[in-house]
Symmetry: C2
Subunit: 212 residues, 2 copies
Amino acid sequence: MRLAELSERSGVPIPTIKYYLREELLPPGRRVSATQAEYDEEHLRRLRLVRALLQLGRVPVATAREVLAAVADESVDQLSRLGTAVAALPPGGPRDTDGDETTAREAERTAEELQRRLGWRVVPENPAHLTLVSALSALLRLGYPCDVSQLLPYGRLAGDLAAHEVALIGEFEAPTTQLEAAVALTVLYEPVLLSLRRLAQAEEASRRFGGE
Amino acid sequence: MRLAELSERSGVPIPTIKYYLREELLPPGRRVSATQAEYDEEHLRRLRLVRALLQLGRVPVATAREVLAAVADESVDQLSRLGTAVAALPPGGPRDTDGDETTAREAERTAEELQRRLGWRVVPENPAHLTLVSALSALLRLGYPCDVSQLLPYGRLAGDLAAHEVALIGEFEAPTTQLEAAVALTVLYEPVLLSLRRLAQAEEASRRFGGE
């Protein structure tokens, strides 16, 4: 397809597509004349992923390039590609920066014990592990409950969700398509999950305190 | 306690506390001399909440003031105070802005059907409802799966989580303390939930694709 059709089918304006091409977020089309190139379904899929990352995931361009390179790197196995791609995504939340050492150590211990209790391997260099430690350190420092027993239900639910999500990813056929979907769904389902949590809280609070 | 002790116990620097006082995020202390004021446990609690909102929830000062006013408004019932406070918090995710009308309508229908299937009341003016619709519209537009059957597991898990969270809030004694905790935990547990989801995904993916 030509650039105009790629734009129409993706809903992404032509100047934006040209920008993605210049930034090498999108591989070049196949040249058919001095001024025209031909694009295929792979371009369309990749374009959707770029859009999801930049616009909805608020991922910086340089980070998106890193994520996409990991997705496309066929020299390593599927799991490493997935790990590298997802690890490059910005963490799902701000880092707590002004905790003291004692709190940080307690948060680290809590995060590790929680994962062990859930039967998960502890991978301290996983950025999500650092985000978790930071979030726990904030809870501790601000005096809110965050012992392992409070956290276990969150961990169990996250585990159930991940099983559902990884099975969903498994339904995509080609390895690269699977990875693209994994990255997109990691980013795009975050607001779904957070908004459903707030709606469920409202529902639950009105049942419990609403008195109707 | 004096300002110095309030600072030490909260871990918040004195100039920052003075800024919060000027911005009316923190009620003034009880004057004991021309230059000194006395603060109590309520100030400490409130200070922790302000810190959680501004620093970790990235809530703008004006929004934090609105949330805190709702929490403190004893003229209305508990549920309305909670609803107003949580609704004022920034939504848990970016809004999708370039969807077309057809997609927006389909997203709205999906969001409503999902909530009905979960047995929840649909409250279209809840900001979380708008965030959900926006997230679904992005998924639809980018061609990723988001029919009600895909979304139901997320909703059920969010419901389980909310039941756990609302019960947790119920353990705090005074109505105002409950509301403060509800606001703080809504914000502070978002990175906990998102990071646990990513850790669970990594664990699940390595079980499924890792081949060990």
